[in-house]
Symmetry: D2
Subunit: 407 residues, 4 copies
């Protein structure tokens, strides 16, 4: 009987995989509520809605999550300088909690006992989705078809999915498979695959630095307590302040100036290495500018504590899908204190892949830390230089008792 | 009587400051041994030697320290991904221990009770030099003229030094002062000043990215256990392997492609913020390439430990002049283990300020970590996907008992 | 002229040193406001007040700081499990910020340009006091007589102080010097000296465990969010809840049961090692009980983050006198989140130096983490045991690619 | 056919569980090699050998692992001050790698394709054994009966095992089950259970502190580079030096003085909390003495680095069964450097549960760090006290720019 096994809220993309999953779930005896989270990916959401209904979803929810994505995830990550393995800006990791939270909310509202997704059994996203599900609704049950032998044995390759789609009347847009798996949102796009034959084939968001304009663009980004609040383009006087618009505008600038591409090998949570290529245009500019403003406004000892004890483990929590965990919330809640004085403007030049800092100014209490006279090598300022003698001699007390091995 | 107060080994640069100090020390009753450490700065060492003798040094030592600088400091810093406050590659910090060690060796050999330097009383370099001196030779006595009221009160400004030089017959090369203080070595050049009126005025090592060639250069850097051992330029088949030559060649490549400039505000050890501009051409390429190869060859958990618990505190020790300290040697000696498998080649494209990774391959045990089939989203490989269910469910046990605050 | 140099607020103890300093300051031309902070030390405060006035103080403030000491310093340190070098519970470090803050408040109120204290130039307390002074009132000026040659040359030994006291009519209570320096407050007493001939001579607060009662006492300590809120003595049904009374009562219990003595060598901030003996009676019980309740109520991953990234650096900040610093406030403000669920009761047996945990129970959300059935080796509970296979196999993926060195 | 499925090396204890497993494995078609690792547990190994043969093992190996356990695991853990969640000394965790390594060696030598153990599916030991197996021999296959539904469904309770034993002629020694699961070795014994009705029932190794002698025992423990090399008992002049004998002797002393009991709730790797009671007699004395000697001989900054960045994560790796992992070996190999100067003697008083330090002396370079004169508050020594002024004022530079929140 249709729906006899219960009701599933499926994270639906409109693509081949989740369309087949939707139909397969119905075939297995579930009623399916399709949920499409708009986190800024390029997608025809209305077409996806219609497709879901056409192939059997009892209800479809298309939810605009962009604002909460920017405010609750992207900006806090910028505040924390979040980065995984010193290179990856965590674009996919940041979007997953927002999507999972809304999916769980819809599941609760629609009385679904189950949630489902189309992630494979080898990646990080299954972990990110499911740990969020379980933390947010401990009694939820998860159906992960790509980890079920009855599913993955039946759909061993792409052509099995296409055959199933043909059989079940699932409309298929693309006819040739891309050789990589992608994830796109407002913050980034990812390409993952074992081999990427021609890397230049895939980049989608950004122009190649070699093809970017020969004339740089100059902008000023203003931060309040570590949050970007205004971008001004000095080339054309554009000014944006609303969070989503601001971030989207930075994306536009970065894209046309070839900023934000990386090609890496990373360590997945489940213990395998994978190659990933990422475009994070606006985020790359923001992170560079934010770090620079911290140079001016953040006490050095506080920065050292934060860099070692918060940024590294926090980034790892995010990557590993532990956003809704006691340790991640602990780390997250500690960050705003560090940003109290990170208020000011950063002047940035964008040029052919480069984000070049050209100046910065602090406002408020953060402005007290830098004193041109005090730091000058030529001026005496308020520091009595002879104090340094006591400082050095006191530090030398224990060093004089130490026999260097590397002498 | 000349030299009645004892013998001083002075770190001598040939410039106005240390020339005045040399003469002033003699005037105070010291005998002066001048020591010039060649760590790759652009300098006419023979002219400096003659000048020192001419103005009264009893002996002059010009020591080529480039090889030990590259092998003992630069390459280990690359292995550790050393970086201060997420931006500064520590060029000055790395050279100081090498210079101090030789200065102390000469002081010991020449029977000097004192060492002296021309660093100001507000900077990091006084600390770096003196902590190294005291650790290496606990009974050494330090004369830091810029911290002595009898010196800094007498030489309140540059014109007092010039007047003194004129009076004492000290040859003066440059007649107009640069508005910044610089430090140059094989690894980098620094410019520090309260204000930098026209930033484009100072850059010396690198071309402006806007003026770099329109055609990229492609190279391959080979590492053995994290140490660069070969660079091949695919544009012209140049190949270099000897450490100093290799590093110098990377400098050449980076300089002409506009790579390695930064403009930052940093936290000095003594607690003041200062603005610094740095050019670290070859080091910037090497660090990027090394990090990339680690992505392929370094276990993720080991990398996480190293990033948090070694790289951050190690970089801080280096910056703060604690190279010869128990904690810094402890951190340093732990690093080679992490590099056992960091062996392979990294393909890099250099283009107008960008260091772009275009591929990498591992050799030896490090090659085992990445398995294209295993990580592929489309292939099953050796991982039974259903294991991930147990992995996720086990991780969820504690999360189900947690009530997220950010729900 | 009397007071011509300005007004000093002196941290006054009533003892020989600070009495001589008080008179000496007047002699130097300062007007002196004496400030006595009552942090629970055994002292005749009224006698000290009269003595200060008698020897020339223009005003005397005796301030009861016990409640703020307990609530703002002791209890938060218990919440954080603060400990220095794995042994020292930081009794002196915790009291200093409370004393300094009040001293600065009085200095401001009384229009003092200066503050002064009787700490020596080799210890931690000078640092703790002065860093707090400067952070709280950056324009304050500090007079530290024991670091001034004109003072320490004049008072080279105790007999010089006694002679001065006799000359100036300063009443002297004790005639023979104790061979150690002590600091006492509600939390602890310290004894520091190069050599302690007969260690059993000095212990003051606690009985020797060998002389403690043969019958144990059993108590229950209740915590709310990591703060002790009630102590019940099961031997006699005593029950206390008010913070100062509760802590004082724990002191009483610990003292008579011989709990809280340590004898250590520690690393002072200024780089020398010193031997210290400490009695921290009530604090020792509280710390043990609090850690135990955390075992039951604190998520393991959160505890790991806190133990490594907060407790260690936070304790070091406290020890080094950096209480009023950006990094210490940052660490401190992160702690309450960890204590949200640390609510419950701990049963403790006190016996001849031992604090023995005999049981614990959690209240509220913290009670969810432990589930007797779930953890039992004999019962199945809610965990599907076969999930562990997937957990282990997934963890083994990367280990299978690793060649152990210690094989 | 007997053994048709291949050959299994089973970690055998001689108890009911592993005896039933042995027989069950044969029943399933495996040939079974029994392996008994002697890590110091109280056991009749010859009786266990005979029992294994009697019930069907094709071969039995009884291996004395005590010396490698002491030298490769216990002493390095003492050097590192290893401790889990600030209370547990890791007794079981330390023995597992030694047992697993030998089991894998026997499996390789005997041509076993499989290894097996009797650990449950809810505990840490399954993880510790299996991660070691996979790291040491990636192609090994693991049979964990307590995670196999065909096993755990059949043997739902203890009486099913007893019935099976009766049916199969497996001799059963104990007739009544203890309400807890235990693990014993030279270092410790553990008791784990959901509820412990009468805690005093179980303690086996140590006397109750209340019943320990009224007269203390005084000993001196000598360390060389952090390794205990001699114990002298001053009450009777006993002296031991050989590693296993030394550790066994410390156990004897601690047991009779009631030292080493703890009762805790801990966080298992798989995410559940469990209650554990442990007796770690000799290890408790050694850890206390070693930490004390480090106070005297270990530089404070090095100690801080080690405490935060090594001890905490290293202990967690050990607990989680990651001994044979890149990160654990990395942490382990960093430790000997810290112990270079931890050489000297510690005087300890043992009394009714207490390990009381009564003095310490350093030998070699470690003796340089403590200087009685230097640290004395009354003597000037080699430190010019006025240097402290410069030290404090330099530290205050950044603090003066900070506005404390807790003012």
């Amino acid at each position: 009987m249709a729906g006899e096994k219960g009701k599933v809220c499926l994270a639906y993309s409109g693509g081949l995989d989740t369309s087949c999953i939707l139909v397969w779930l119905i075939e297995q005896g579930y009623e399916v509520v399709a949920f499409i989270g708009d986190v800024g990916q390029e997608e025809d959401f209305e077409a996806a809605r219609e497709k879901a209904l056409k192939i059997g979803a009892c209800k479809v929810f298309v939810e605009d999550l962009k604002e909460e994505f920017v405010k609750e995830q992207i900006f806090p990550a910028i505040q924390a300088n979040a980065i995984y393995e010193s290179v990856y800006l965590l674009g996919t990791s940041l979007a997953r909690p927002i999507i999972a939270r809304k999916q769980i909310a819809i599941a609760a509202q629609e009385g679904c006992q189950f949630v489902s997704h189309g992630c494979t059994g080898k990646g990080n996203d299954q972990v990110r989705f499911e740990l969020a599900y379980y933390a947010l609704k401990p009694d939820i049950q998860v159906i992960a078809p790509w980890r079920l032998p009855e599913f993955y044995d039946r759909f061993a390759g792409r052509k099995d999915l296409l055959a199933y789609a043909a059989e079940k009347g699932i409309p298929v847009a693309q006819t040739t498979a891309k050789p990589w798996s992608t994830d796109e949102n407002l913050f980034h796009i990812s390409y993952e695959a074992g081999i990427l034959e021609d890397p230049n084939d895939m980049w989608k968001l950004t122009v190649d630095p070699e093809e970017a304009p020969n004339t740089p663009e100059r902008i000023t980004i203003s931060f309040e307590k570590g949050i970007p609040v205004k971008v001004v383009n000095h080339n054309d006087n554009t000014e944006v302040t609303e969070p989503v618009a601001l971030f989207t505008y930075l994306n536009t600038l970065a894209r046309r100036n070839g900023i934000g591409r990386i090609d890496i090998v990373e360590s997945r949570f489940i213990g395998v290495k994978s190659r990933g290529c990422y475009e994070t245009p606006g985020g790359t500019i923001l992170r560079t500018a934010h770090k620079d403003l911290e140079g001016l406004t953040l006490d050095g000892h506080l920065r050292a504590q934060r860099d070692q004890n918060i940024t590294v483990p926090y980034s790892r929590c995010l990557y590993n899908g532990l956003y809704y965990s006691p340790e991640c919330e602990f780390l997250a809640q500690s960050i705003p204190f560090t940003q109290r004085n990170v208020t000011g403007d950063v002047k940035v030049k964008l040029y052919k892949g480069n984000t070049i800092i050209e100046g910065r100014v602090a406002h408020g209490d953060g402005a007290k830390l830098y004193d041109m006279i005090e730091s000058s090598m030529d001026e005496h300022g308020s520091i009595v230089q002879s104090d340094a003698t006591g400082f050095i001699k006191t530090h030398s007390i224990r060093l004089k008792k130490f026999t260097p091995a590397s002498q």
